[in-house]
């Protein structure tokens, strides 16, 4: 029964390639996301250099289009989402007191599909041109784009999207089924709740993207006519399909950040989160309304006044639950003993920054006014305010907050404060000015502008801010490299409130030697206040069953990637070979008996220092 493969016998590389441990998968998601974040950041830098002066010849128009497409696509699909997935994977099972996620194998498959999808998308730059139709890839621009760029976009996102969908289903089942005794839904930490709602959004939204990309693929590669008006197709329907996915997507990007901020603000204010149930409810309402407002991206497409009005009102309704959340954070801080750590600084800076983005969002939601704003830099300023001021601040806050738990050393606070202030100033310098650029009429997605239109100074200032952000990010990387000696006080450095701080740092493979018993919201804090500071055990110390690692996910993802290249270059043989590899690996997975292994009690006792 116990064909135990102790991790000490495996080489490090083999261990990481075959792992099904949610913590290692989370770390790989995190670094994959960081890698693509860097690439997309460099793309943004190049664009800001091109826009520094009027009629600059730094980049060609085609290159500029490719860069803006890749910047958007990479930042959303390959940077922000994986970084959040990294935190979700690492933290969420710990927060609910689970030993692992519900489907460790599928979790690993999701990770490798994301990595391979990202590679497919980025190989396009070396293979004769990246996608150039914007991250939205509107038809007919995308269906008539020459070369293979958009095909890479379609197939890369298809592969990465499949992985995302798998991970989301895995998170949903984990949260529904794997909670420790006493951990009712309304005792779950907010980050777990936002993970849950985000996964629901992914589950309902990503199929729409899958279909949209499929139709695009049919039109481009297999001679379809879904979006060819000459053949009776309809181009507006592509926008509808895309935004039916795309609007929930932007809430997928912000809700996990809301969760991270809820954790951080209540931890560093030393107070229970104000209005917990209202926060949960607001999260669900935001998630639900996210599906009801997609057409506000298309006010100028000619939908008709009644439709515009309905979608405008629905969009403004989202401001209500979001406002509830903002006030709950403020009231959590109210009267708390606030400590200004880097993580909390990001959380505090998030509130005004995100509100600014929300205000411009409500402005954009007024359909009549949107005829002025549409496709100007005002829109660019708005979504960078919510995505950087919300999601990216959330990622940085989570990075500083959970780093000791994930890597066993604390990031330097002093260098972190430099990073925070430079990034904050750079961010506002870059994007605040863009509101006015948009209001005086600078269109978005243009490679250059003429002199004498009043755009010069603002664009120059904007570029300076972008460089400041780049410098700040370099400081973060330096911080990661030089802080490795801060290995003291990593188990519970912030005097945490939730379960993940009840484990050792770095976390044992099995998370908890004994499944903890949860007696209240903020379970660890309750034990600190009313117990002995340690979690009560819900079970006797016994041997722990663990799943075996597997190399199959990499090959399944590889097969799909080969098939994707076959589609891009219309090579039937390659499509067949890739799919054959994938299905062969799935077949092996299905018939191979794999009962996992058991960790004996002696080893657990040794880890606890009782052996």
């Amino acid at each position: 029964m116990s064909n135990s493969t102790a991790s000490s016998k495996k080489s490090v590389l083999w261990d990481w390639l075959t792992t099904v441990d949610h913590k290692k998968i989370g770390i790989m998601y995190f670094f994959g996301g960081l890698f693509f974040f860097t690439i997309a950041g460099i793309e943004a830098m190049l664009m800001r250099i091109q826009l520094m002066f009027p009629e600059m010849g730094f980049l060609g128009e085609q290159t500029y289009n490719e860069l803006l497409t890749m910047h958007g696509t990479t930042m959303l699909f390959l940077a922000a989402m994986p970084l959040f997935f990294g935190f979700m994977n690492f933290v969420m099972p710990l927060q609910i007191g689970a030993r692992d996620v519900a489907f460790p194998f599928i979790n690993s498959l999701g990770l490798w599909l994301f990595i391979f999808g990202g590679i497919i998308l980025n190989i396009s730059m070396l293979a004769g041109g990246a996608p150039d139709a914007g991250w939205t890839a509107y038809a007919p621009l995308s269906t008539t784009s020459p070369g293979n760029g958009v095909d890479f976009y379609v197939m890369g996102l298809q592969v990465a999207g499949a992985g995302t969908l798998m991970s989301a289903i895995n998170f949903l089942v984990t949260i529904v089924n794997m909670r420790a005794p006493g951990m009712s839904m309304m005792r779950m930490p907010l980050f777990t709740w936002t993970t849950f709602v985000t996964s629901m959004l992914i589950l309902f939204a990503f199929p729409a993207l899958t279909i949209g990309l499929l139709l695009l693929m049919m039109d481009r590669v297999f001679g379809g006519a879904f979006f060819d008006t000459a053949m009776g197709g309809n181009v507006v329907i592509y926008q509808h399909i895309f935004w039916i996915f795309g609007h929930p997507e932007v809430y997928i990007l912000i809700l996990p950040a809301f969760g991270i901020f809820s954790e951080i603000i209540s931890t560093f204010a030393k107070k229970r989160l104000f209005g917990y149930s209202a926060m949960v409810f607001a999260t669900m309402i935001i998630g639900f309304l996210g599906f009801m407002v997609w057409a506000h991206h298309m006010f100028t497409v000619g939908m008709g006044p009644v439709a515009n009005a309905i979608f405008a009102v629905a969009t403004m309704a989202i401001a209500v639950p979001t406002g509830i959340k903002i006030f709950n954070w403020l009231l959590t801080l109210w009267g708390g003993r606030i400590s200004f750590t880097v993580a909390n600084l990001f959380a505090l800076a998030f509130i005004p920054s995100f509100v600014l983005g929300g205000v411009t969002g409500v402005q954009l939601a007024m359909s009549a006014a949107d005829y002025q704003f549409h496709d100007t830099y005002f829109v660019v300023a708005h979504f960078h305010y919510v995505i950087i001021g919300g999601s990216v601040f959330g990622i940085f806050a989570g990075t500083f907050y959970w780093w000791p738990k994930m890597f066993g050393y604390r990031l330097s606070e002093s260098l972190g404060k430099w990073f925070f202030w430079l990034f904050l100033i750079g961010f506002h310098l870059t994007f605040f000015i863009q509101h006015f650029l948009g209001l005086i009429g600078m269109p978005r997605r243009v490679a250059s502008y003429l002199d004498g239109q009043g755009f010069n100074e603002m664009n120059f200032i904007s570029s300076m801010g972008a460089f400041l952000m780049a410098v700040a990010f370099i400081l973060l990387v330096i911080n990661v490299l030089i802080s490795r000696k801060n290995t003291d006080n990593v188990q519970d450095p912030w005097d945490g409130r939730t379960l993940e701080w009840a484990t050792t740092s770095p976390v044992q493979e099995y998370n908890f030697a004994q499944t903890p018993l949860i007696r209240d919201l903020d379970a660890l804090w309750y034990e600190k206040m009313s117990g002995n500071g340690k979690m009560k055990a819900a079970e006797p110390l016994d041997e722990i069953h663990m799943p075996n690692g597997s190399i199959l996910p990499i090959f399944i993802a590889l097969g799909l990637s080969i098939a994707a290249f076959g589609v891009i270059y219309s090579a039937w043989f390659v499509i067949g070979a890739g799919l054959l590899l994938t299905f062969a690996m799935m077949f092996i997975r299905s018939i191979k008996e794999d009962h996992g292994y058991h960790i004996p009690v002696s080893e657990i006792k040794k880890d606890k220092g009782e052996g």
Binding site: L172, F204, H240, M303, A307, I310, E593
Partner: protein, 113 residues
């Protein structure tokens, strides 16, 4: 090595309560099955017969289809067991999809409002 359910008891039959539950389930399965066949037959007859006008037949058949979907989910796909989240998500997904389709069909379809 056959697949043995590790949680099942190794010997002895089911308990009295278990037996009653199984009986109840098999009866409800049979009744539901008959009802499904009846509904399907009704739908076929509705379309086949000349008595029922087309304007009534289409919504009526769609209504029967809706009833069948719900029965299928609850009686044959065990949606009444397990977690309530399954119910929440299926219905939420249906609702979201219905709203989306309705918006696309009514508001921004052929006639724009």
């Amino acid at each position: 090595m056959s697949h043995v359910d590790p949680s099942a008891p190794l010997e002895g039959g089911p308990s009295k309560e278990e037996e009653r539950k199984l009986k109840r389930e098999s009866r409800s399965q049979l009744v539901s099955f008959m009802f499904m066949i009846f509904i399907t037959t009704t739908a076929f007859l509705t379309v086949a017969s000349d008595i029922v006008p087309t304007g009534f037949a289409i919504p009526f058949v769609l209504l029967l289809a809706g009833i069948q979907v719900v029965m299928q989910l609850y009686n044959f796909m065990h949606m009444n067991e397990g977690s309530r989240w399954i119910n929440v998500m299926i219905w939420a997904g249906l609702f979201v999809a219905a709203m989306t389709v309705a918006a696309l069909a009514v508001l921004i379809g052929i006639d724009k409002y």
